[in-house]
């Protein structure tokens, strides 16, 4: 298999990207890598060219660039060229640590939507602290700020495929992030989405979940509209970071006694931090497009990049995209029926 790598995206690109790719090359012997990037910067960093090919590009999409504009105008950027390679069948998957919006645009407009998927969405695996499994799929993380009920329904399908194919969870359960457990809770979008999902033949819906229970692991897939999904994810990250910071500060403030305690607890803290640092395990995936497209956080170092290659390999090995495609192709009536039920409800 071949992975097209945007070598220029990310805070520590191209250095950490190239280092990560070399680790992955040594780890997975069936992956070939195409590095898209500025030759003068990337070339000196590669120590061993085995299964690594450099495709020189002349432009870079910056973190601050306006996504759609950047994708349209920077035609010789590392990201756009890597996306086009996937589109044209020269590579099987796309990886970037760069501008998320531009990667989304590249995924949707260049790699292309799977026919029948209305809105590709961003998904990630988060730690599930008390559930049956170690992780759950959370989506949409913010690809679509304005989600409709039919989109949320489709996220249930896409998320279930990711949970089964990549996290290895048999018949995954699905919940809808809402501001109450009862089915009449939420705004119109979530009320209607709940009704659609309740009768879903395509996945195993358990009902609503409130953001307070997110990390408890009461479902294998949690579906959210992109706006509140983004808010819940970021509030979770922000709170976890703030607490670790506060604990460190409290330890430093508490004199010899506290510092001794802190030293003794170091291994315990490390294990929690590791569990929380879900970014190390891989990236956010754009589900609903014609190939695996994965984004790691901008500050990803080599290890995270290498781990993400493992995640992409699993997606390819498990035929995630073709299985989604086949499912949607053979269930157009169900998806259509969902939309009609929806329209009937809205016009009632």
């Amino acid at each position: 298999m071949k992975i097209a790598v945007d070598a220029m995206g990310g805070d520590f690109a191209p250095l950490e990207i190239v280092k990560g790719i070399e680790i992955a090359r040594d780890r997975y012997d069936d992956i070939d890598f195409q590095l898209y990037g500025t030759a003068s910067e990337v070339k000196p960093l590669v120590t061993n060219w085995e299964r690594i090919e450099l495709i020189p590009t002349t432009e870079v999409i910056e973190m601050g660039d306006e996504p759609v504009k950047a994708m349209r105008r920077k035609k010789d950027s590392s990201m756009v060229r890597a996306a086009l390679a996937v589109k044209e069948g020269h590579a099987d998957a796309l990886f970037s640590a760069g501008n998320t919006g531009a990667l989304l645009s590249s995924a949707i407009f260049l790699v292309g939507r799977i026919k029948g998927v209305d809105r590709p969405a961003l998904a990630t695996a988060l730690p599930s602290f008390e559930g049956e499994h170690d992780q759950f799929v959370f989506m949409d993380l913010g690809a679509n700020a304005d989600s409709k009920p039919a989109h949320l329904y489709q996220y249930g399908i896409l998320g279930s495929f990711y949970a089964s194919h990549v996290l290895g969870i048999q018949s995954p359960t699905v919940r809808l992030l809402n501001n109450g457990a009862e089915e009449d809770k939420g705004d119109e979008v979530h009320k209607v989405a709940h009704q659609l999902m309740k009768n879903a033949p395509s996945f195993n819906f358990l009902g609503n979940i409130e953001a307070r229970e997110l990390l408890e692991g009461t479902a294998d897939v949690v579906v959210a509209d992109g706006f509140s999904g983004n808010a819940a994810l970021k509030a979770t990250e922000g709170t976890a970071l703030m607490m670790l910071k506060q604990i460190k500060a409290a330890i430093m403030d508490s004199g010899t006694r506290g510092k001794m305690g802190g030293a003794l607890l170091k291994p315990a803290f490390k294990s929690i931090q590791k569990k929380l640092d879900y970014n190390e395990a891989g990236g956010a995936v754009i589900l609903g497009v014609k190939a695996p497209v994965v984004k790691t956080h901008g500050s990803a170092k080599a290890t995270a990049v290498a781990n993400t290659m493992g995640q992409i390999k699993t997606m390819i090995d498990q035929h995630l995209v073709s299985d989604i495609q086949n499912y949607i192709d053979t269930h157009t009536e169900e998806l259509q029926a969902g939309k009609e039920a929806l329209n009937a409800q809205i016009n009632a």
Copy 2:
């Protein structure tokens, strides 16, 4: 001043409510309390009737009751009777630890909206860990699942009044919870709200805030639509609780060494937990109605109830409601102009 107390609402009602009121009575010598509740249950709990009056009621709104229905049907419930006392001028403020939705309905339909406020909303003070002040106002916590831009604009006004009058923050700053820092981020509602707020003569708008920075204290008031505000608040609470739980578990798992460390760090953990437990400091306030209406969490114990009386006293002492009322009365043109600008934008 007189506070009407729903003595029957909350997981530990009426015991902890009555205990809390007695603590508050001893602490604040200018407050009279009216306890609305089932006589046979409340009467035996009161140890000293000084400045405490029992108004017997025969019904109780339960946590699981459908809010509007319960408010309409249970006319002799402790909550409805307490709300009516405020409406009729027999009391200055309303307190309950009961059904939040029913309290919202009672506040809006019985106590009544301030003329000119389109949507009363739920606000709370959260800890600000790195800001200039210790706390900031976060609203709407979920009173309105479907918020319009003009509502978010009004929350900016209401929140600023709460920050100045109750938290004592001079010329408070305001931010809008959105899924990106740039002004073109978010769905239509948040894009338009940002434009309205940017030109706000009524408050000091600093721009968007992402949920990740919520606890950092970069603003004195954070305005959110009720749906994502609810999600962000609950994700914050859930993550904080989960982390404390995980730390405890990691300490227990880490042998003698870890347990010793945990024992040494106990005071440090206590101080963080106290800072995080914003519920102890008071309740969530329904802003935009004609009197202070405050809800503490259902599991509130006596201390939290007593502290909430202090919060209500500040609201009354500082003339929060009449100052909001006066401001809105004298700025109808501005509020109207905001709506017109909005309509122009929407129809453009």
